[in-house]
Every structure is written in structure tokens, then in C-alpha cells.
Symmetry: C2
Subunit: 454 residues, 2 copies
């Protein structure tokens, strides 16, 4: 049977996420990002469309690389203002029963003890529907919010991340035994003190000698997502990730990365199919191809090139304000920026991209592809991507909010269902069970299971 296609919605608690400028579209509701009714309505739409999850991006810091300051980012609302993503989840969880929530939290600036409790709390409150997108950050401005001058060097961030993961695994998996909570009113025993123990850690970066504050939650460790595309990031993904988020404009960029991560996971003894791969994409769906193309043309009138260059400069670490718009992008080089720029320039190894062309590509849907057309046309594209890159699904960004998602739920999903490539009902259980079947908790050979007690 052809592989099922999985969909997440890719959102962010801010005005302009992957399509800068589109907040100005008359039907766009991005200005409502700071109010709960927008999010509750969105969650219900996604659940109607049987989306696996809502994937919430986050960035701690501001895109102040373009032009050397935050002026462009503020003017174009390029991921600033940006509010905390975790606090959106409880209200959406109360309004849904199945939708999962994959939330980005940058571990470089969070004390692991408090963070572990937050995620356990969300796992309880969502009945096991929480996931964590593990990121280590890419903006020096985030470090300056923490009183540092710049962020830690790239590969060192992953060393810190490994230490952080050990701490949170010890708390989530190793502090309370499965049978610790007795809640025995007659005996007057809530928890059995012999079945709860301190998590002890003395690492290079973190120390800990404390009980986890939360009793075991349905999944214990949240479903783990990761998005790093550097060599260190891919190794980290192979070790920890249950879901990987990839962004690139073409199948030829994505396919080798999928293969590399699956191969790395296999080397670590994991089933390579146990890592779900999600590619960034934007789907603009209309009743017909012509209607969808007209919609794209309409959206294009609101696209914002300077906003796109602001995001791209932040992602790459290269100040693109210093380059002529007609300069060819391969000539832009920096250590920090290499992989993100390569994401674009490799789209077609036989062509060259100017800075302007890269910005135009990014201005709707970020680095990912934009699939435009009737439900049948867009479904064809999704099937091609799945079949040719071996990804398992997509993180779908919005162009106009929430219109893009509403149309996917109501037009595209039924077409995918007709083709037998999309579920017709949610599986019961936690997010991990919905995605993988089996048990709600991580099993060996995943590293988390080695921290399990008893």
C-alpha cells in the first residue's frame, strides 16, 4: 500500500511567519495572533481536517542581521513581536480531542528543571498530545536577552543539548516509577516513596539532584522533533528525534537528507522508519487550477521582499542588505549561512539564483515549495514528494491565515482520502500512539528508554 501522507500545520505565535507581508491581505487574520479565539478556531479546523498536529515555531531574539539592526524586522513584523508558544496549547487542547501539539522550545536559555515540569504539565493537560521541537537557536540577539554577548558556537550548542537531554530524560523517565502513584485513600498513601527517586546529574553543563515535580504523564517524554540540518544537527536527530522537520525548495534537496538521517538512525540501532520526516511546504488550493493560480497571484501582491530578506539574513547570518539584488547567491558565503543558503541554491543545481530570486522564493512559504492548484493537482505534488523523497508528510505553512489551513482541511484532505493516502479517522491514544502505534512511551533502542527506572 502507498504510504499514508501526514500533515502538520506550521504556525507561530506572531504576525509574519513564513510569508512576510501577507498580514496585509484583506482576508488575513494575523493581527489576531494574540487572542485565544483565533487559536481555538484554528485547532478545531485542523482537527476537522485530521491533521496530526499543530507545529508551533518559536524564536527567542530578533532578526537583526539584515541592515545590522532590528528596524526591518519590526517594520515588517518579521517574527517580531513573537509571544510564547507553550501558552497557546492548553486552550486549544480543551477545544479538541485528538490534535497533537509540537512546540518549539530553545533549550539554550531554559533551566531544564523548570522546563521538564512545563512539558510534563502539558502532557497531562493534553492527555498525552504534546511534542517538543528541540532547537538550540541561531540568533545572537537571543543570547543578549540572557545577558551574554553572543551565542555559544554551533557545535558546542549541540554538546550542551546532549547534556540537557540527559537531565530531562532522567526527570521524565527515571524519577517516578510507573507504579509510584497509588492514590490509595483507604491506606492514606498518595505516592509510594520507595518508588520515587531523585534525578541526579553532574554534567559539564548541568547539575541536578532533585525529584521530578510531576507524576508520570501519559507519554512521559514528549514526542521529540528536531530540525537541525548541520552535520551535528543530523547526528542529534538520528539519536533523539522521532520526527524531523526539513526545509528546502525541491525534492533534490530533501531526498538525500532524508536518506542520511535514516542511515544515521539505523547505525544507532533504530528502525530508520521510526523517524518521521516532515517537509516544509505551502499548499494553495482552489476549486480549479486557474482559481488557485489566481489566488497565488492575488497573494503575491502582498508579498514583502524586504521582509523575506530580513528572515533570510537571520536564518543565514549573512547581512543581505549589503548585496545587490541581482548578485548571484552562490557567491554569498559564510560559515553560519552556508546551509540555509544552500537550501535555496541547491534547488536546481543547474541554475543560479540571484538575491532577488531567493527573496521572491522565500516571500511566500519560506524556504519550502509552494504547491498551487486544484485538490487533484496539489495531491499529485504531495504524492510525488512522498514517493520520491521518502518523507512521511508535510509541515504546511500558511500564506493567508487561517484561509490556507481551512482550504487544506476542506478541499485537499478529502482528495487525499479518496486516493487512500490519508487517514479517515484519528487513531485513539496519545500523540505517540497516533503517529507510531504501539505504546505511549519511548521504547528501546531509543536512548530515552535507557533512563527508565525499573
Amino acid at each position: 500500500m502507498a504510504k499514508e501522507i501526514r500533515l502538520n500545520a506550521f504556525e507561530m505565535n506572531c504576525v509574519a511567519h513564513q510569508s512576510p507581508g501577507l498580514w496585509r491581505h484583506p482576508r488575513d487574520r494575523s493581527g489576531e495572533y494574540k487572542r485565544l479565539p483565533y487559536w481555538i478556531e484554528l485547532a478545531r479546523t485542523l482537527e476537522r481536517g485530521l491533521f496530526d498536529g499543530l507545529f508551533l515555531a518559536d524564536v527567542l531574539g530578533v532578526y537583526d542581521v539584515f541592515g545590522g539592526d532590528a528596524r526591518a524586522a519590526l517594520t515588517h513584523a518579521a517574527q517580531i513581536p513573537v509571544n510564547d508558544p507553550l501558552l497557546l496549547v492548553p486552550a486549544m487542547a480543551a477545544a479538541t480531542r485528538h490534535l497533537g501539539f509540537g512546540v518549539t522550545v530553545n533549550l539554550s536559555y531554559e533551566p531544564p528543571y523548570n522546563f521538564a515540569r512545563r512539558m510534563s504539565t502539558l502532557d497531562h493537560l493534553t492527555d498525552g498530545r504534546i511534542g517538543w521541537n528541540i532547537v538550540t537557536g541561531y540568533l545572537d540577539s537571543a543570547a543578549r536577552g540572557a545577558g551574554r554577548d553572543k551565542q555559544v558556537a554551533h557545535d558546542d550548542r549541540y554538546a550542551i543539548a546532549e547534556d540537557f537531554m540527559a537531565v530531562v530524560y532522567k526527570l521524565w523517565e527515571g524519577s517516578w516509577a510507573d507504579d509510584a502513584v497509588r492514590a490509595d485513600a483507604a491506606a492514606g498513601v498518595f505516592a509510594d516513596p520507595d518508588r520515587v527517586r531523585k534525578a541526579v546529574h553532574d554534567g559539564y553543563h548541568f547539575r541536578l539532584d532533585a525529584l521530578h515535580l510531576s507524576e508520570p504523564s501519559p507519554q512521559r517524554t514528549p514526542v521529540l522533533y528536531q530540525a537541525g540540518s548541520s552535520p551535528a544537527g543530523r547526528l542529534f536527530a538520528a539519536r533523539h528525534a522521532e520526527g524531523v522537520f526539513l526545509s528546502g525548495p525541491s525534492k533534490s534537496v530533501i531526498a538525500p537528507r532524508v536518506a542520511a538521517i535514516r542511515a544515521n538512525a539505523a547505525k544507532l540501532g533504530r528502525d530508520p522508519k521510526s523517524v518521521l520526516m516532515f517537509a516544509l511546504a505551502t499548499a494553495i488550493v482552489g476549486a480549479s487550477d486557474a482559481e488557485a493560480q489566481a489566488k497565488l497571484a492575488d497573494y503575491g501582491r502582498y508579498a514583502d521582499l524586504e521582509g523575506a530578506l530580513t528572515l533570510l539574513s537571520g536564518w543565514t547570518g549573512v547581512d543581505l542588505s549589503k548585496f545587490d539584488l541581482n548578485q548571484v547567491v552562490q557567491h554569498v558565503e559564510s560559515d553560519a549561512g552556508r546551509s540555509a543558503l544552500e537550501n535555496i541554491t541547491r534547488a536546481d543545481p543547474d541554475r543560479s539564483w540571484t538575491v532577488r530570486q531567493a527573496a521572491e522564493h522565500v516571500a511566500i512559504g519560506g524556504i519550502g515549495p509552494v504547491f498551487v492548484g486544484s485538490p487533484a493537482t496539489v495531491a499529485d505534488r504531495l504524492e510525488e514528494w512522498i514517493d520520491e523523497t521518502d518523507v512521511d508528510g508535510f509541515n504546511l505553512a500558511f500564506a493567508v491565515r487561517p484561509e490556507t489551513f481551512t482550504e487544506v482541511a476542506d478541499l485537499l484532505v478529502p482528495e487525499l482520502q479518496r486516493r487512500g493516502r490519508y487517514k479517515t479517522a484519528y487513531r485513539e491514544g496519545t500523540l505517540r500512539e497516533k503517529l507510531f502505534g504501539g505504546a505511549p512511551r519511548l521504547k528501546a533502542p531509543h536512548v530515552a528508554a535507557s533512563y527508565r527506572w525499573g
Copy 2:
């Protein structure tokens, strides 16, 4: 006119809060603390009763003073397990329109940059109904969760707190001007970059050089609560607090503290009436005095002395497992424990308390008084307290959950309304406007206003 009586519900994201053992009562629903429907139903009950707010306690760490380890705390669920309180708010906010939320966050273990964004996010999502109970912690076990051996010395914690407050005021009040957000689609300007600036701080404990990530929220600075009763804590309250939470068993303990905080606030140029004082209390209300007394007797069968001693040991820093239950409590002395034990022993300066009597007092309703009787009887007691101590209202704890609150909303509140001592409708606007009238944001001479820009 006699002063209006204000009510908050005093809750915690855990099993046993102020009445250890009562989770075993057949009607108690404390086991549901980790599920959203409990909290949503509670919020609706409180809004029906026109409570000003839900006051959420928190503790980061475990009560491991009694017996020198966490065994008793775990057995009796004495504030462990305990989940994150902030994450309860969004779901309750979506289900209510007026109820305020005063949430405890210990600043000793939170990075201020991330914390400031969390509170701004909640202020947005609640439409300005968020408050912050500022605490610095009292358990060494919390420090061990942060990789330290013990917590910082008491008065140093308040020095750190002052530095922390300067950082968050700069972010909340000083980074974005009121007119920074233009959201001008025609001009393509979301925020005016000339009206947003970095918050810069170089203090003894915190450094910062970063924009606030959130646009201005309705209240900017959340309504500030504080509960410290030490001399350093009272000075901190006089400087920062808009609401103070006091706990003691009798009017003779509370009245001088109210007077001292109001006098300190006046010395700092603040209107002493602009600091609202809330006393801890538990109200057990029945149709008649006899019915209420029978209810108390029934509750008493589930009270848990060892649970109470576990809490009391944590609050005081004195391991009460080492003392005979019949020992008189004034003889127990320690620097750390003095004020909390005095809260009890001063209840009646002419009598002495044994350890057992103190534990019995704490076992229902913690250190506060328990008012038992018909609506008229309990209303009499509340009026006496208001009139004789000059407090403005109460943080009402529960004995049985949520029964205690439901009975207050449905039996006691109508009696207080009949007496003209309780509002009959919420005021419109933010929590700050509901509590104080006037504007949604802090005004001079409150110190926060000195950080305002423009």
C-alpha cells in the same frame, strides 16, 4: 459606606494544598488536578461567584525538611506532585470573561527575559487579567533542581529580586512605546522601529541588551502580588506590591502587619489604600450553623497530621519530626522558622500551643483561620476581619475541592451582597481596572511607572 469585601480563590496545581489529607474525602476531586475540565469548571464557578481572581500558589521543590527527606511529602501528596501553574490559565481564560488570575512564579530560578515574555503573552491572551505573585522561594530542594547546593541567603534573595524587577519593568514598560504598533497595511508598517528600543541592564545579578519580544499588552506589567512577611519581604511589598497575601490564624496577628505595610507604602509616597491586603482563610458554609459544623467534623476525619507537619516543617525550616507532639511550640526556634511558627503561636499571646495543636490547626486551611457556619455566621466573621484588621479581602483556601468554592459562590456571596459588602457585577476592563478603577497600567508613584518610555 462599609468597605467592599474582595475574594480570591486560593488554589494550586497539585493534590494537597492547604488541607492535607482531604484528598481522601469521598466528594473531593483533587485527583483531577492534572486535567483541564476540573479547572475550567472551577473558573466558571468562581466567575459565577464574582470572585476577583483565582490565586494559584506554586512551589519549586519538595517539602523534605520533615524527617530529612521527601518520604512524608510523597506519601501525603503534600504539594508534590505539583505541576506548572501558568499553563492552567489559558484554558480558564477562554472559558471566562472577567475572572482574574494571580499566578505564583519563583523568580530565583527563571531567566527574566523568557519570563517577561510569558507574562506578556498571558496578559494578551487573557485580555489583561493576569497577575503575578512574586516569590523568592524557601526550599533548598528547589535550589538543587537548579544545580546549586542550597538557596541563596534570605535577604540576598530580595536583592536579587530587586534586580530582577528592574529587568522585567524595563521590558514590560520601557521597550515598546504605546504608539509603537501601527499595523498599517497600506503603508506596509507593522511596528514603527523608532518607537521600539532595547531594554538595557547591567546589574549585579542580571544583564540584558535586548528588545522585549512582545508588543505592549493591556496591562503591560501584570498586577503584582507579594506574600513575604519578613522585614525584607515587607519592604519589597511596600515598594512593588499592588496586592499582599497575608497568612495568620487571628486578627491580632494580621492587623499590625497590614498597618506596617500600609505605613511603609506611604513612606515611599504611595497611597496606602492602593495596596490591597488579602488574608488567607477557609470558609466552610452550610445552610445552618449546625450543618456547617457537621461538615467540618466530617472533614476532620480525613485531616492528616503528618501531612500538616510536613508542610509546617517546610514553611519553617524546622524538622518537626524531632519534637514530641506535646512539646510547646514557642520552644522551637530557628532563624528560618521564626516567622512561620510565630504566625501560629501569636494567635493568642496568652496561650501556648503544642506541636500537635499547631498541626491540628494547619491540617485544615493551613495557617489561616477557618470560618464555619451559616452564610450569616461566616459573613459576620468576614466583616469582623475586614473591619478590625483593615484587610481588603480574603484568599479563600479549599477543604474539599471544589465543594468549598461552590458553596462560597452559591451560599456566602449572596449573603455578602445582601449586606452591601460585595459587588453585584464585575467592573469592565483589565484586572487592574477591576481592582483599582482608573487605568490598565501602573501609574506613578509606583516604581514601574519610572521605567515607562515617552
